[in-house]
Amino acid sequence: MSGGTNITAISVFVGFVAVSLLITWWAARRTHSAGEFYTAGARITGLQNGLALAGDFMSAASFLGISGLVFIGGADAMLFTVGITVGWALILFMFADRLRNLGRYTFGDVVAYRLQPERLRMLAAIGTLTVAIPYLIAQMVGAGALIQTLFGLPYFVAVVIVGTLMTVYVAFGGMLATTWVQVIKAVLLLSGGTALALLALGRFGFDIDAMMALATEVHPRGEGIRKLGGLYNDPVSVLSVALAFICGTAGLPHILMRFFTVPDAQEARKSIGYAVVFIGYFQAIVIVIGFGAIALLSGETEYVDESGRIAGGANMVAIYLSRLVGGNAFFGIISAVAFATILAVVAGILLSASAGVAHDIYARVIRRGEISDRKEVLVSRVATVIIGAAAMGLSLLFRDLNVAVISTFVLAIAASVNFPAIFLAIFWRDLTTRGAIAGGVAGLVVVVTLSVLSPTIWVDVLGNEKAIYPYAYPTLFSVLAAFAVTIVVSLSDRSKRAEIDRAAYSSQLVRSELGHQTADVTVS
């Protein structure tokens, strides 16, 4: 089924693009200093930032991917939706205050606070780019394929549209434009998802029991879709998925960057509190959409290809469901929302990548802070254009890339390189520069090695008979390795620098809890 020319889809999407370009023009006139470019001058409110965080995180993967996962595996997808929500609540408890109080533009500021700054910033920048660039390419390849199916546009055109728009948003409008694009997208996605779930439930007179009963009846796995443990039934895989969400979400650079767009720690807590509400709510809805799709789409021959599978893959079920329950106009709206979703996510990632290059590497390591504010903004804008163009080129080159593999890899890097460094830097006095670098390198090496030896690359891509590492996810071993190496190396570190690193923890602790306030401390 091709969308052909769906007038509603095109008008909703053109409307979104027009509004987002207006916002970019408005934001560009307010973006001059580095602080304005990276963090919108730290003047975003808690609610706005909460929506923007939800917008940054809820990619097409969490909407289309998870509803598709429910369609295939049933209740097994709860492992993901529950993990996502728990992961976000943990970010609030563990990271919100301390990160906001210690950082300025990027999480590199936080890990470099008391450790040797140049080396830690290089690690942070590598952690940022190894997450951001594959993530960008995966999203753009996914977008190209989706747009091709929905709007009938050639892949090449779709990638160029997405790549150009994201580069324009970020290069001209910086964080202010990116934030508002995220806010609008989050509102569209939350309301579109709610409408879709309600329309699907409406088919059953809002009787969830009836919907589930039909879903169980028509699904090839029958009663199996009500259980967990069908998709992953070994502890290594399940713990790896769990760790990917617990540690990985808190290591995504574009999410961490949003901590610095609000004025203080109180607003940072508020914004992540809102984000937990929006994201948790959305996860709850996606499960309903997925089961609704099982119940309603299963008998519909229109959406199935010759082999009896869903045309375009299970990721398309939410889109097809929208057409089935809401007609062509609603289908157009949901398609446009899915497109807007991807566009907003890639803008956020691109901004974090450009900050990693311009702020962490260029301004702080190469120039050692000897750079004017204006110059740094200029460098960020140039970096944005170069990274944007490179991502476009790579997406055109690797159009057959397995998007799911890349998404797993990205979350594993975030969990195994960025998370251990940040977590131990803010909570563990004995962390030293040498330990942090060794741990980061260990995390990176283990993720890359196990990914190559895993079934998805060793067997599916390289064509070997049997995978050397039999599990799909490397996270359990890579996270443990990163923590173990960091701790052992730090404890055995007798260098001069190690003394400085440990001694500076006390002062960092005070700042991380109190921020830069100047008043006396009194506790009720």
């Binding site: 199996g224 009500r226 259980k227 002062s507 005070v510 809890e513 830069h516 306030q517 006396d520």
Partner: protein
């Protein structure tokens, strides 16, 4: 207004109390959620059939109900955390962190 003197703040019993209360909240809530989630995902393997039984004789299984309950718990704890920390900080000057 002067910058805080780190050593005196660190030894201030009020700061120690703040630190202790905050860590208790931070690790207590984190521990509760991590334990529920890991317990839930392990139950998916080792008590798969049990999680597959209907909740109150409906077609909705216990596995789905418990999953939703953990999502609701995460949201509830987050809202409580934001409120409690705000109250904890409200009697001291708001924790402003200006630009450095």
């Amino acid at each position: 207004m002067k910058e805080l003197d780190d050593v005196s703040v660190l030894n201030d019993p009020q700061f120690q109390k703040l630190l202790k209360r905050r860590s208790r909240l931070r690790w207590g809530m984190s521990g509760l959620l991590v334990a529920s989630y890991l317990g839930y995902s392990m139950a998916g393997i080792y008590a798969s059939d049990l999680l597959g039984t209907g909740f109150m004789n409906s077609s909705v299984s216990w596995g789905i109900v418990i999953g939703y309950a953990i999502i609701a718990l995460s949201i509830a704890l987050s809202l409580v955390y934001v409120r409690v920390i705000r109250r904890l900080c409200s009697s001291q000057a708001s924790d402003v962190s200006g630009d450095r």
